[in-house]
Symmetry: C2
Subunit: 431 residues, 2 copies
């Protein structure tokens, strides 16, 4: 049952894998020490791209959906991690209020919600669903294709507490990424634990801040392993003041695209990589993979302007459209049954709890795969007997590869932790 994967099994990635496996105790200890200083996000998922010559995160989601894509085998790990997380946050916790995406009634998404409910129930909480959707005025039961039922209830705000009728939770878990802004219902909840914090939502979060933190983390980690951080870091730079309608800021964008392409070309030469570098331009605030452009040459941007305008016009969040992230493109060289595959790693508290390959038959290896039409195949980890085996030939072992994915996923999670510390509006200012 291990999926048949074709990965680029030569070049620097194997050296990286070997270095990572040999250094396992040192890496785990390093994480342990980092988590003494920094609080891990409550839960997260990280999209990775494995180019064969480098492996890097391209998206870190702090309101992860898709828990339903994890296999049943992975759930005990998630339950155990949820127990550890709750114990630290609110050990007396009895009730958990889960707030799903306001408008998403797709059965895939609702399966994710059902899986999260199952995990937290088994971790020892009474879980109920509070909806941000104002059209939910009384308990509304939805039946999923597998006959599971979910009941969405209207949220009740009473002074400084949020709950449901006859349900006063100590912890509120958000699964809506707040792209549409922060609802008043969720502000000033100082008596309850609101997880993740509001500033982790896309109303406030910026990809550029995340990748700045990731650069810092990857340099620290690369130092630990004595390796080049570029092997795990996609060069990233923010460009502000853009207006695709008037053309304002396009020069600045062009020169940054050029700069990233030039640096990437230099790195490719250094490692003897025969690929054509490209960059990805994406809105600096998250938009579920929408509005992402692949650019192979800076002068393509002129031609792209009208298309970009069109692409960016339909986005649900407006605030950060004037700011984009220019990021070194990382091609995915993983294939499954001829379709392009991209690993996604799921974490809860500090633990990797599972993952899968996102597979998209109709997308190219340098395109974003998080789009309609993608499907999901569990990572080898699911089929256990599959813990890393340090003795194996690099590249020869799916579990070893997955251990590496879990390490890079956790580096991105650590970066999110740094990021949230920097952007915390309630942090004391020691400057």
């Amino acid at each position: 049952m291990v999926p048949h994967l074709i990965t680029a099994l030569t070049g620097p990635i194997n050296e990286l894998e070997q270095r990572v496996l040999e250094s396992m105790p040192a890496i785990e200890r390093w994480f342990r020490l980092e988590w003494m200083e920094h609080t891990p996000p409550f839960y997260s998922s990280v999209d990775l791209r494995n180019a064969g010559f480098k492996l890097a995160p391209v998206d870190t989601n702090l309101f992860p959906g898709g828990f339903n894509n994890l296999t049943q085998e992975m759930l005990p790990l998630a339950v155990q991690a949820a127990m550890a997380a709750i114990e630290k946050i609110c050990p007396e916790a009895k009730n958990l209020l889960l707030v799903p995406e306001a408008k998403n009634r797709g059965s895939f998404y609702l399966s994710n919600v059902a899986t999260l409910m199952r995990i937290f129930t088994m971790a020892g909480l009474n879980v109920r669903l509070g909806s941000l959707d104002e059209s939910i005025k009384e308990p509304t039961t939805i039946t999923l294709p597998d006959a599971t039922t979910l009941t969405l209830e209207p949220l009740l705000r009473q002074r400084s507490r949020l709950g449901l009728k006859d349900f006063d939770p100590c912890t509120i878990l958000l699964n809506d990424d707040l792209s549409a802004g922060v609802p008043d219902l969720l502000t000033h909840l100082h008596e309850q634990y609101l997880l993740p914090p509001l500033h982790a939502g896309w109303a406030n979060r910026r990809k550029s801040q995340h990748f700045k933190a990731y650069e810092e983390v990857s340099k620290k980690f690369a130092k630990l392993l004595g390796m080049d951080p570029w092997l795990i870091y996609p060069q990233s730079v923010a460009v502000d003041g853009l207006d695709f309608n008037t053309g304002a800021g396009l020069d600045a964008l062009q020169s940054q695209v050029d700069a990233v392409l030039t640096k990437t070309r230099r790195k490719y030469k250094e490692y003897g990589i025969q690929e054509k570098p490209f960059v990805v331009v994406k809105p600096d605030a998250g938009t579920h993979g929408l509005g992402i452009m692949t650019i192979r040459d800076a002068k393509d941007l002129d031609a792209l302007a009208p298309r970009a305008r069109e692409k960016l016009a339909g986005l649900k969040s407006v605030p950060a459209l004037s700011q984009v992230l220019v990021q070194e493109g990382v091609v995915t060289h993983e294939r499954m049954h001829d379709a392009v595959a991209e690993p996604v790693v799921y974490m809860m508290d500090r633990y990797v709890v599972g993952g899968f390959y996102r597979v998209h038959a109709e997308r190219a290896e340098d395109e974003n795969l998080n789009a309609p039409g993608s499907s999901f195949v569990p990572l080898a980890f699911a089929h256990s007997s599959h813990l890393p085996a340090p003795g194996e030939k690099p590249g020869a072992s799916a579990p070893n590869r997955f251990y590496m994915y879990g390490v890079i996923g956790r580096l991105a999670m650590l970066a999110a932790s740094y990021e949230l510390e920097t952007t915390d509006p309630e942090a004391e200012d020691y400057a």
Copy 2:
């Protein structure tokens, strides 16, 4: 691959299973609150007996062997639990010194040691083996049947620290139950974490203290669930001052055996159980299942005295021979391919990390199965998609049954925690 189990699927055990499943969030929260007050043993395994009408622990091992009997699927859970345990005890930990049983060179036992090394290496520690065996004077490599190699090294005691040549651990993990007494090498190690503590060893531990604590725990738990604690508690009473050679104390023993049989008979009548009650008499200090006698009638003791003497003569630990535990016998009604089966649950920190059925074809349902000739079959939990499903018909689901086993296993672990607090020689006396 789910083992074909024949369990007694009628009577009180199904009610208990149903009550346990319905109360899952309350049970998990209750454990969470208990663990705020009490420190879980570092690791443990608990032998259970499922009589169909009652389910009870019969042995709680604080130096568990047999980790090699857990399936590969279970190991990620063990690694995650080990990470959580280490983080609490010594987050800076780099080196772990594992001290295996002094004299045991059996390949099954050594596989257990290899599995423990693997778990702790993956949890981020450099693990080396220090031997209590004085014949180990230099590093000695042993090759296991699966070609794994282990290196036993001589322990080095320097003033107040224990280590190996060029290896100074912050934590020492004992896997020897100290039946033979506490070696001087292990005493007064105040600068390092010695786990489990010395008073958890059989040189000091008494089964009667454990079952006294378990009685307390089971009463608390039964109150939470509104049930009769007898359904999960084997009546247990210690008898001291025995001498099988002179016959001293045999009267007292006889009257206690009688008392336990009478109480058991009363309970059987209350629940309409058609079995013949029996008691088990065992040495109050652990002896790997040796010296355990099954008695169906108090007057059998007279006839038994010579046999008991013989049975108890070969035991490796002498101190507690004059004290025995008289315990209500719990028949095991589980069968696998006609052989008697007994579940064993493994825990690390507060987490259930796996388990298996100990199967013994040549033993009767009221005999001890922890004896040469037993074999091991993973619990259904291993074959996942197997988290508890509260909707299922009681008794119909192996995972639900295993969840209940995990709960009772953890109750016994909690009792061990109470027990070790009571017997801690360094505890402050608030009396």
